[in-house]
Amino acid sequence: MSRLPVKKTYKLFIGGAFPRSESGRTLEAEGQNVARGSRKDVRDAVKAARAAQPGWGAATAYNRGQVLYRLAEMVESRVPEFAELCTGRTEVERAIDRIVWYAGWADKLPQVLGGSNPVAGPYFNFTVPEPTGVVAVLAPDEPPLLGLVTRLVPPLVGGNAVVAVASETRPLAAIELAEAIATSDVPDGVVNLLTGLRSELGPVLASHMDVNAIDLCGAGGDSAELERAAADNVKRVVHGRADAQSPWEISSFLELKTVWHPVGR
């Protein structure tokens, strides 16, 4: 007699835990029932992200780099599983390599983006990049894994905490990624992944007063209303591309702080 497989329940990833949507709703995607996140789930995720951000932002850049590298290791160990949930092995490998590439930026970025400023006076003056805080990401529908990784990792490297809405049509890769994140050393709450309808979750994130920046990649051309809502607390609005790799992708989610001190005997 053949063994009956144990099937997975696809859930949200909030604060390091895997809750169902508090609304109790699901929607069918890729032949599976996945959680249909609600307004309340968004609020919970933002709360978890806000709580986790100071610790993550204050971790040493070396540490953040290693934690993200560890995430690449975790994805590498699940290549066959991921390959089934996206366009295939190549996409998974590109996603892994992208995570490794960004991991290496953690302790280099401040040297590229910041520096000392030659002011005309007896002052020492320097500029350093800092995380903007909590970043909302609307991931693109395609490619389901690489698209999410491309938008998720840059804000993370910079020390932000993220609330991401997964591909609406192909959310299973995101849930798989949440499981990889949960087994890596990324602290709870630093990454929160929601599945559901972008049209439902996007406006809540765009108008949320405790979100500092929003990446509207997944909204496509349909973003004017979200941008308007984002103005309520002067959010940084980013129109990220589904496939991009550069340090400027990180800097979109950074603030620049300039510090002055007099020079004297």
Partner: protein
């Protein structure tokens, strides 16, 4: 009496000294009776006008244009044409030379501009002469040097100008804000339509004469004057590629909403409610000077003003005592007098806003102190004010007053100072006063603000990026980082 005896005999703070008036000459400035809009290198006749006044005397200085949608349209068309007809393709080294010329011309004519700035805006001549003008010239000089070096500022990216930049500037540093806006925009190869603040258009209009002397090609810089309606028409215009706005958070949000979905690039430099944090181990007298400079500089019309003083409990009393004594020595009056420390409030509207918030402070239970000072009868004036016994929830601790009004709060531990300092939707600047180096850096890491001044306050430099966190806006002005808002990057 010997000198030494006389010195010993001297009271700590002389309060009865009188100063002979030392007015700067107004003759340096020759104003026209009427100004139009500066479009395409010449003046166009405005359809509608209003009078611009001196806030210290309420006298009319000139009649200026109230820009209409048609005026804006002509200015944008002129800027578009100038962008297409040579400016954007001019080698960076040539653009640089125009900017160097402007810097030099401003230096040469700086006294004239300083007098006009004080006349039209009400700020003390001491400040317009020693701060606004030198910094404005320095800003053009700094960005001139970038114009032909952009590819070194952004390695592995191909920087290109955006097109026409719409720039809307405030009334607190009219010419300096013009320089902050124009210099990087032009260095990057953009053309500009600039709208000066409603109450302070004159230095921008005089600046058009500098552009003539610099032989800047027509249409590269256009100036349309007017109130918020003119600004709104400019922001709405389809022909612009970028908006740079400095002003209130309220207007900034409405501009961000207006631009939603248009793909136009935006930078916002908005309000602030900065904490100036004083620890008990600081050099107290220096801190007092820094506090005074932080909030009474330019009548407190400074977005990054240190309007919340956070005093460590253990020194709260002596600090407030010293501060009150120091306030008694501030000379409030004629902006053109070289002795004046605090000038006129910029406008009647602003005076009403300050008065309203100060009344709210009294009603909510804060204790008010104002030094005895005789305010002139004509014009708009407000005495330097300190509120003690202020709770974090009071309006004077939450809202930007944009006037010479300081709210004093207290704290015990560095953690509490950080908590209170960050307890605001704003995040433009902050100050820290302590002799402990490690604490300065600890605080600087935790303060959510774009500029942190440690053992100093209100310092500015063209090489130093300036801009806010949170609701104080986004984008930086100044430094290498100030170039990015005026560039796009080709694939």
């Amino acid at each position: 009496m010997t000198d030494i005896e006389r010195k010993r005999d001297r009271t700590a703070v002389p309060t009865d000294w009188t100063y002979a008036p030392a007015p700067e000459s107004r003759d340096l400035v020759r104003l026209r009776e009427r100004y139009g809009h500066f479009v395409g290198g010449g003046w166009i006749e405005p359809a509608d006008t209003y009078a611009t006044i001196s806030p210290s005397t309420e006298e009319t200085l000139a009649t200026v244009g109230q820009g209409t949608a048609e005026d804006v349209d002509r200015a944008v068309a002129a800027a578009r044409a100038a962008f297409a007809n040579g400016w954007s393709s001019l080698p960076g080294s040539e653009r640089a030379k125009y900017l160097f010329r402007i810097a030099r011309l401003l230096q040469e004519r700086s006294r004239e501009f300083a007098v006009l700035e004080s006349l039209n805006g009400g700020k003390p001549i001491k400040e317009s002469r020693d701060v606004d003008l030198p910094l404005a010239a320095a800003h053009f000089f700094y960005y001139a040097g970038w114009a032909d070096k952009l590819e070194y500022a952004f390695p592995n990216r191909r920087p290109a100008p955006l097109g026409v930049a719409a720039q809307i500037i405030p009334w607190n540093f009219p010419l300096l804000m013009l320089a902050w806006k124009l210099a990087p925009a032009l260095a990057c190869g953009n053309t500009v339509v600039l709208k000066p603040a409603e109450t302070t258009p004159l230095t921008a209009l005089l600046f058009c004469d500098v552009l003539r002397q610099a032989e800047l090609p027509p249409g590269v810089v256009n100036v349309v004057t007017g109130d918020g309606r003119t600004g709104a028409a400019l922001v709405e215009h389809d022909g612009i590629d970028k908006v740079a706005f400095t002003g209130s958070t309220e207007v900034g949000k409405s501009i961000q909403r207006q631009l939603a979905g248009t793909g136009k690039k935006l930078t916002l430099e908005l309000g602030g409610k900065a904490a100036n944090i004083v620890f008990d181990d600081c050099a107290l007298d220096q801190a007092v000077e820094g506090i005074v400079n932080g909030i009474y500089f330019n009548q407190g019309h400074v977005c990054c003003a240190g309007s919340r003083l956070l005093a460590q409990e253990s020194i709260h009393e002596p600090l407030v005592e010293k501060l009150k004594k120091r306030l008694e020595t501030l000379r409030v009056g004629d902006p053109l007098d070289k002795n004046t420390d605090v000038g006129a409030i910029n406008s009647k509207l602003q005076l009403e806003r300050i008065t309203e918030l100060v009344e709210a402070g009294k009603e909510e239970g804060a204790e008010i102190f104002q030094p005895p000072c005789r305010l002139p009868e004509k014009g708009y004036w407000f005495a330097p004010t300190v509120f003690t016994n202020v709770a974090q929830s009071y309006r004077i601790a939450q809202e930007e007053i944009f006037g010479p009004v300081l709210s004093v709060l207290t704290f015990r531990t560095p953690e509490e100072a950080v908590e209170k300092a960050n307890n605001t939707p704003y995040g433009l600047s902050a100050g820290v006063w302590t002799e402990k180096g490690s604490r300065i850096l600890w605080m600087a890491q935790r303060l959510r603000a774009g500029v942190v001044w440690a053992n100093t306050f209100n310092r500015f430099d063209p090489a130093s990026p300036f801009g806010g966190y949170k609701e104080s806006g986004f984008g930086r002005e100044g430094g290498l980082h100030g170039l990015e808002p005026y560039l796009r990057f080709e694939e």
